[in-house]
């Protein structure tokens, strides 16, 4: 959905899927009022929070072919920033939000400096290892709960008010964050920066020959991706009133990759669709049986073996009229 494909179609037709998603998220609290409201809002809040992190991951994996397997660390770091500040009595959003985002960004920047020197499978394993490093660091933080995690007694406040304590208001704040991140990522992908970054995915040598310092572009993207993770962590900590090392476990990183794979790589709204599909599917299967992972595991294998391009790819094959082809990446 780059600027090149926009001619001749109205905005609504062109942006069908993102707009439909937006409408769904906007209307959900109204629909939820007829059902078990708090349960549904919690569930969709989780969807939106993971969608924000998944957006950041899609930026790397889908547009840069940088398979980061330590993405949960950024979420965890953002969440821990809220938790640690909170345990010292600092809950003001003007401090805790920048702290969460900055901490994750700095961590991404520093680890990115090492990770991005490597390629391919080395990159996967190194990001994985750095994720584990953050995990074990959090586990060893005895003053902040260690393995048991840290309860957040007061949610983030705004000038002494508590917008995050109000479920519906918090829901719309999260939605605002998600929409903002989505627009930001879209803008980023089509910008000059995004073109260079995507170019590096296609042919790093050629981009380097053209005079671009690929490393710096990739490092910037990695840091931005980390920032989105930090924001997701900030929201997650407030939504669950709790942080624990489990937020950073490598299984969580794997789940984020599954989300973007479900939704289809390199589409951005695929990250949102994937988060939605993953959370709802997990919820449904775990209602069905306690051993839901015995169903889900083989399902993943089948998705990889059979459905390439994720759910959106599948929909494209099944309903060619409704969905349009992904734009070819530019050389």
């Amino acid at each position: 959905m780059t600027a090149q494909t926009s001619s001749g179609e109205s905005f609504v037709v062109r942006e069908k899927l993102p707009l439909a998603l937006l409408a769904l998220f906007l209307l959900l609290p109204v629909l939820a009022a007829f059902g078990t409201e708090s349960y549904l809002l919690d569930l969709f809040m989780r969807v939106m929070i993971f969608a924000i992190a998944a957006l950041g991951l899609d930026l790397l994996v889908g547009y840069g072919a940088l398979v980061s397997f330590g993405h949960a660390a950024f979420i965890g770091i953002g969440a821990y920033a809220v938790g640690i500040l909170g345990s010292h009595g600092i809950t003001e959003v003007w401090i805790s939000l920048p702290a969460a985002v900055l901490a994750a960004t700095i961590f991404a920047f520093l680890t990115g400096m090492v990770c991005l020197r490597t390629r391919g499978v080395y990159f996967i394993m190194i990001t994985l290892a750095f994720g584990q490093m953050a995990y074990f660091l959090a586990s060893s933080l005895a003053p902040y709960g260690g393995d048991d995690g840290l309860t957040i007694h007061t949610r983030t406040t705004l000038f002494g008010l508590a917008p995050f304590a109000h479920t519906r208001l918090f829901y719309y704040i999260a939605l605002g964050c998600l929409a903002g991140c989505y627009v930001l990522c879209r803008a980023l992908v089509v910008s000059r920066f995004g073109r260079v970054f995507r170019g590096a995915r296609e042919n790093a040598t050629r981009m380097a020959t053209l005079g671009y310092d690929i490393y710096r572009y990739q490092l910037t993207a990695y840091a931005i991706s980390g920032a989105l993770g930090g924001l997701a962590g900030f929201l997650l900590a407030n939504a669950t009133d709790f942080v624990s090392p489990a937020y950073m476990s490598w299984q969580r990183s794997g789940e984020l990759i599954i989300m973007i794979l479900f939704g289809g790589l390199g589409t951005l709204h695929g990250a949102i669709v994937g988060a939605l599909a993953y959370v709802l599917l997990g919820e449904w299967l775990s209602d069905l049986t306690e051993n839901w992972k015995m169903i889900f595991g083989p399902m993943l294998v089948l998705v990889v073996l059979l459905a390439r391009g994720g759910l959106i790819g599948l929909a494209t094959q099944l309903m060619p009229h409704w969905t349009r082809k992904k734009p070819e990446p530019q050389p």
Binding site: Y122, I126, P298
Partner: protein, 307 residues
């Protein structure tokens, strides 16, 4: 002093254990360019199978042999049904599919054997401890693990360096397509290498079962450590895996036991007690970061292979 010796031995023991797992992982990656996250659950499965066969036969030796055979059979089954369809895919697909297998097996193990940790008794012959030096007792079984690991390492080295199969493995790690073009049945080679790696991971699980509790998810942590090992050592290199495994094993064990004491030299006891464990838990990752910053393809990158 005796504490240092004990901890070095513990570090060696962790090191050889890591080597047993990392060897399979690095071979599989080196030859097939296949990243197998499910390698850790093979280790877990080895331990569970050993416990099961022990309770059936009452003999540790029988349990060892049967569990090895079963682990091998299961690994080959996975290779045949799923993995061989993934060799040609990109790493992302391999990661996700093998991740799915982890989810399944961790839960399946819980389903079959229960979530409670199980244990395997140390065989009569190797139970107890020996006096290594005056005032220093060390459990025999841990020495057995070290010895077994070193023997396997030597065998592996001989196998890879001096046999025809080893030559094919080295050639495959260099250029699998060319080996195939020269008339070698590459699928069969893949299967042998994969089965071998699986068996080594299973062996590691069986050997460690008497010391650790056997529980679901026990393979996950060790898998990441094995990744750190093969990345430091250079993916595809057995020698690199061996050196890096010992390095990681020693660094982790010594870091955990001495970080607080060392930090006490430069800071007060109370901050040292807080900072020490944190640094210790990050130590091997920091080692990895430094190694990769200096040598992005690890310490012993296989020759002629581009990362």
């Amino acid at each position: 002093m005796s504490l240092l010796v004990v901890q070095i031995l513990n570090g060696l023991q962790l090191g050889v254990l890591l080597f047993l797992i990392a060897a399979g992982l690095t071979l599989v990656f080196g030859v097939m360019n296949f990243i197998n996250l499910a390698h850790g659950v093979q280790y877990m499965l080895g331990a569970y199978l050993a416990v099961m066969f022990y309770s059936m036969t009452g003999s540790t030796l029988a349990a060892l042999v049967l569990a090895l055979i079963a682990a091998l059979a299961f690994g080959l089954f996975l290779e045949f049904v799923i993995f061989r369809h993934l060799y040609e895919r990109d790493h992302l697909d391999q990661v996700i599919a093998t991740f799915g297998i982890i989810l399944f097996l961790n839960q399946a193990v819980k389903f079959v054997w229960g979530a409670a940790p199980l244990s395997l008794p140390i065989p009569e012959m190797f139970s107890g401890a020996v006096v290594l030096m005056p005032g220093l007792l060390y459990p025999v079984w841990r020495l057995v693990i070290i010895a077994a690991g070193l023997i396997v390492a030597l065998m592996l080295y001989a196998l890879v360096s001096w046999t025809r199969l080893g030559m094919l493995v080295r050639a495959g790690a260099n250029n699998a397509t060319m080996v195939s073009a020269l008339g070698v049945d590459i699928r069969r080679l893949f299967m042998i290498v994969f089965g071998f790696g699986t068996m080594l991971a299973g062996f590691a699980g069986i050997m460690i079962a008497p010391i650790l509790s056997v529980e679901p998810g026990m393979g996950d942590t060790i898998l990441i450590l094995a990744f750190v090992v093969i990345v430091i050592g250079g993916i595809g290199s057995i020698r690199g895996a061996f050196v890096a495994a010992l390095l990681v094993g020693l660094a982790d064990t010594l870091g955990r036991s001495f970080s607080v004491d060392i930090l006490r030299l430069v800071m007060g006891p109370s901050p040292a007690r807080t900072v020490g464990p944190a640094i210790a838990s990050m130590l091997i990752y920091l080692v990895m970061a430094v190694v990769l910053y200096l040598r992005p393809t690890g310490l012993f990158p296989p020759k002629g292979r581009r990362s």
